[in-house]
């Protein structure tokens, strides 16, 4: 049977032969019923006029503003540039660069000028040029972020470790010390690491730990940290602990712990106690918490 034949059947695109063959199958009756009943489903009421009135009320004040500002447009541009210059002198080397950063245990969301979405994980930072965004979509990333890129010109994420280029898709980039991972959730991305470029399709992830290359499958529709869960697959324990320190305001110390052991599992980013157990139990470690300090130690440590 043809690929996606159920979709083709629903839109009457099957050939007469294919249709006949499908009608012979034992599951056909179930699908026919599903088709019939689902065609009678209805969405909830939508008050088109009332909603339009509300929108009009919201835009009424804005529209007068737009008209009033028009004659001063160029003046405003200059004023804005001066304001930016002044801010720039204090804060930035390059005054047109926007930057958004998160602290430990924090995430942030931002919308780029083309409506592309970025969600920043803890202890991460992005820098981009808002003014020239229409000309080139370049963004510098330190740390980890999930990108939902609007269709358009090439969108480039540059990190200290490697570079990712796409046209319009959904992907996650994590660039930490010795750790560079790109996971693609939709479309196709191009990953450059150590001068080698590779195409990464949806459902795949490419990981470099201390330069060592690994490829794996991505089963979820989005990175787990968006749902406040940090997950790992065969990652040295050291990197798991580094992530723990980014998600909670704690200092971790270790005693008799082999940080090269490969860890597979996840921890919750909101509850420290649960997170500590999620790491210690499978690793056969014990932990002690005193204030902001956490000590992991081997179970047989005297």
């Amino acid at each position: 049977m043809e690929e996606n034949y159920l979709a083709k059947w629903l839109s009457n695109e099957l050939s007469p032969e294919e249709l006949k063959a499908f009608e012979q199958t034992e599951e056909y009756q179930s699908y026919a019923k599903l088709k019939a009943v689902s065609s009678r489903l209805q969405a909830p009421e939508f008050d088109m006029e009332g909603t339009f009135a509300q929108i009009k009320a919201k835009t009424a004040s804005d529209s007068t503003k737009v008209i009033a500002l028009k004659p001063y447009k160029s003046f405003l541009r200059i004023a804005a540039a001066i304001a930016l210059l002044m801010v720039g002198a204090f804060a930035y080397l390059n005054f047109s660069n926007e930057s958004v950063a998160t602290e430990i245990a924090e995430t942030a969301q931002l919308t780029l000028p083309d409506a592309s979405e970025v969600v920043l994980n803890a202890d991460s930072k992005v820098i981009y040029d808002e003014k020239d965004w229409d000309l080139q979509r370049n963004i510098i990333l330190e740390g980890e972020a999930f990108f939902k890129v609007a269709k358009g010109k090439t969108f480039t994420v540059s990190t200290a470790l490697g570079k990712v280029q796409v046209l319009g898709t959904q992907f996650n980039v994590e660039a930490r010390k010795d750790f560079f991972e790109v996971s693609c959730y939709e479309g196709l991305v191009s990953v450059t690491f150590n001068n080698t470029t590779q195409k990464l399709p949806a459902g795949a992830s490419l990981l470099f730990i201390r330069g060592k290359r690994m490829e794996r499958a991505v089963s979820n529709l989005e990175p787990s940290w968006l749902n406040r869960e940090s997950s790992f697959e065969r990652v040295p324990l050291q990197f798991v602990i580094n992530e723990l320190e980014r998600q909670f305001k704690i200092d971790v110390s270790l005693k008799n712990v082999d940080t090269e052991v490969l860890f597979t599992g996840s921890f919750n980013n909101t509850d420290l106690e649960t997170a500590l157990k999620s790491i210690s139990t499978p690793s056969k470690l014990k932990f002690k918490v005193s204030g902001d300090n956490v000590l992991f130690y081997a179970e047989d440590t005297p």
Partner: protein, 165 residues
Amino acid sequence: MENVCEDEVYSTIYNANSKTLFNYIYYKFGNAEKANDAIQDAFVKLWENCQKVAPEKAKSFLYTVANNTYLNVLKAEKVRLKYATNQKEVSHESPEFLMEEKEYQQKLEDALNALPENQRTTFLLNRIDGKKYAEIAEMEGVSIKAIEKRMHLALKELRSKIDGI
């Protein structure tokens, strides 16, 4: 050259797109009130950017903005959709038949809620709003083939959930 800032053009765009946009967000959220907020936001943003957005681009602008609003509140909500069903066609049937229909609809509703968001949205845009795959592909910003795949998987999953296989 037509301009979105003109009231007439703006209303035409609203009339042509608001209902489907509302449904589209509802299928994702499962919350009519939030869906209404999201489309209001989208249309307000369209008005604010009416100089920059050409009328033929307005539709994709609206979907992009509404989608982003959806992404921002995505984590806060557990999807719990309710669908009205058009009962007229079966109302003359026997009580047993109606009972069975009711059970079937409950199963269908549960199965729809359990679907991945993108499959549910595709399925319902086609079944309720009668949207062609090409049109859904445009709304979601993916290929037609990807939409066919979602539809195929949605049908398979719904059938196996309903039949208990």
